[in-house]
């Protein structure tokens, strides 16, 4: 099924709701249990090596508490997730109320931009560097 505007908004809404539920559940745990006892990453679980996104939940939790340095330390990608989780509910509501497709158009623009070589190559390098840092930190 092709990704239409309504389907995109539905998927993003569900992803945000799942993210909020996940944060609500995980914030009740002891900090040392996150990523160790309760491990949702397949790579980390089976290969005992962190993936590029490991530590994102702890990063978002740190950012929620206003700890920017902690958020960056756990995983810089947490900033991206935090921004998506904060901005997208308002943007989705705006698009639904005004019957516009601004978020869906932005998503396509983002995809096209990221597919350009001069953006894609630095992005891949940054992800790989972040992955190496994650492995070095032992997240």
């Amino acid at each position: 099924m092709p990704l239409t505007r309504n389907r995109f908004l539905l998927y993003l809404s569900l992803a945000c709701i799942a993210g909020y539920i996940w944060l609500a559940l995980i914030s009740r745990l002891k900090p040392e249990d996150i990523g160790t006892r309760y491990d949702v990453c397949v790579i980390h679980h089976f290969a005992h090596v962190p993936c590029p996104s490991c530590g994102s939940t702890r990063s978002v939790l740190a950012l929620i508490h206003g700890d920017l340095v902690g958020g960056f330390y756990w995983n810089p990608l947490g900033f991206v997730i935090f921004m998506v989780m904060v901005i997208s509910p308002f943007w989705i509501a705006y698009d639904l109320l005004t019957r516009k497709s601004t978020l869906f158009r932005f998503f396509h623009l983002f995809e096209r931009t990221l597919q350009r070589k001069w953006v894609a190559i630095p992005a891949i390098v940054l992800i790989l560097l972040n992955w190496a840092w994650n492995i070095a930190k032992g997240v």
């Binding site: 992803a15 949702v40 990453c41 993936c51 590029p52 490991c54």
Partner: protein, 102 residues
């Protein structure tokens, strides 16, 4: 028609009809058209599931980022992709061909 395995089955008749009607000038472009092999994409998906390389390869960059940031959707999205990625690859290939022949 040699590329039939890369395309959606239910679109084949329509594509064939369209190719027969098509202008000769577009044939050269079609001959050099590259499609993603669904089997290769499935293997990539099986090997690098949480890293979303499969999604990036088929051009789903936005969804690829989402899958990468969520460790393969906590593994659930990765499992779903193992089942549906071949179909998605064929659909993407068909869409690419459709754009070229119109």
């Amino acid at each position: 028609m040699a590329n039939a395995k890369y395309l959606e089955d239910h679109q084949m008749y329509y594509i064939r009809e369209r190719l027969l009607e098509m202008d000769e000038s577009k044939w050269r472009m079609l001959q050099f058209m590259q499609f993603n092999d669904p089997v290769i994409i499935l293997i990539v998906s099986l090997v690098t599931g949480p890293l979303a390389v499969d999604r990036f390869m088929i051009g789903d960059t936005g969804l690829g980022i989402a899958k990468l940031l969520t460790c393969g959707g906590f593994g659930i999205w990765m499992l779903i992709d193992w089942v549906i990625i071949m179909g998605i690859t064929r659909r993407k290939n068909t869409e690419k061909l459709m754009r070229a022949i119109y």
